[in-house]
Amino acid sequence: MRSRSPLPAPPSTPRRLWNAYAGYMVGFASLFLIWHLASRYVVSSVLFPPPALVFAKAVTLVRTGVLLEHLWASIQRILAGFIAGSLLGIPIGLAMGSFRPVRKLLEPYTEFLRFIPSVAMITVAVIWFGIGEASKIFLIIYTTIFIVIINTAAGVSAIAPNKIRAAQALGATRAQIFFHVALPATVPYILTGMRLAMANSFTTIVAAELIAANEGLGKMLWDGRMFMLVDDIFVSLVTLGLLGFVVDRMFRWSIYTFAGKYSPAT
């Protein structure tokens, strides 16, 4: 038996926080510093505002409620489409990974449609569903579903045959093997697919809102261009970056917390 060697005493809390976040903080600080220097001394044009100006504008836009309104509109669309797309994609992917006939039947759809970018589908989406919520949610579902399907199906195919055989020899039925072996073994792949889909959703929602929307971060960008509100454009860009960063961190954190043990290796 291996005995555990005594571990060094854990570092104190501030030290640990510093170790965990110092890299990020310095990284972000340098980003804003370079932006500031570039805008102030290299470009020095009203078309490239320095960070301080953009933050001041952001504070104003938050106070008037405009920014949060746009932000909330985009988040709602992403969440609705992303959740619906995942809920549809996971069972389809599981079925495709489990049953060869289903795979043969549905592969033409996934292999054909996934090469038509969601951005290209904006045109039809607007014609079919108008410029309201329905067209945006349709597009996010479209951009989410194929990645989730493909990753889920790949996860099912990647299950070690001995995991299934062991369950059979332990007396599990087909349904039990599906729910107690195949499904949990596929969780890491499903989550990876969802994380990739989330990144796609950002691209798609901005593109869709640029073309046809009454509010949202994309619409804010478009208005900024129309009325030459360069500061507004930058506020929207920074918000998108931060939102994406936060959402992705949350995803990584939840994968780590809830599914860290669902390691595909063992």
Binding site: L170, H180, T266
Partner: protein
Amino acid sequence: MALVAFRDVQKTYRSLQGVDDLAVEHFDVEIEPEEFFCLVGPSGCGKTTVLKMLAGFEAPTAGQILMAGRPVTGPSRDRGVVFQGDDSLYGWLTAVENVEFGLRMRGVARAERRERALRYLELVGLRGQESKYPAELSGGMKQRIQIARALVNEPTMLLMDEPFAALDAQTRSLMQAELATIWRTTRTTVLFITHDIDEAVTLGTRIGVMRAGPRSQLKGVIEVALNGARSRTDDVFLTYYKQVYEMIRDEVAKSLARTA
């Protein structure tokens, strides 16, 4: 009546070129209850194929496999399986949850199955490690989980496919000693696949030697009349070792000549 009977069993695999390869042909053997039957042979001789057919994972192309007089039609919990690698363990379940798996599938109540699983973890020397995940355990401990997971189901028979082949030498001989003890305690019939003559003589009550593949079959069976602890330095042990070795030597040479 024999517990297991292979009657003229044949297994063909279709190769990628579409040609049928005969892995095993005219394979006959009978295994008695409470026996520890070791099957040895050069690599590629179809030892694992024989185990997979008895487990019910693969069907023979011809011939018949009987278990307690009835033909084997598929996997069943009367034949517990211990695999060579650790990829059969469920990485999202703790050690004790892995062991409980079979009982849980059968609907045994939570408290009872936990108690039984812990008893078998104790038997394989894993008490205290029950709430660890497989990824946190060493290779030897993972094989112990597999053994406990199979035994807790109380199978008529245990099928072991080179279960210690991936372990280091020290861990392997420790595990062999523990398996011998477990077998003496539970008296479960065992079919043990190995390519290691030393291991076969250490554990088996009978040793079946297979011919080199393809078209492999049983070359002969040696009864091992060693009782109690078996020491590698005993003269009797060496006598059996030599007997198996001489039987297998030509087969290994043939197998090397074919693959070279």
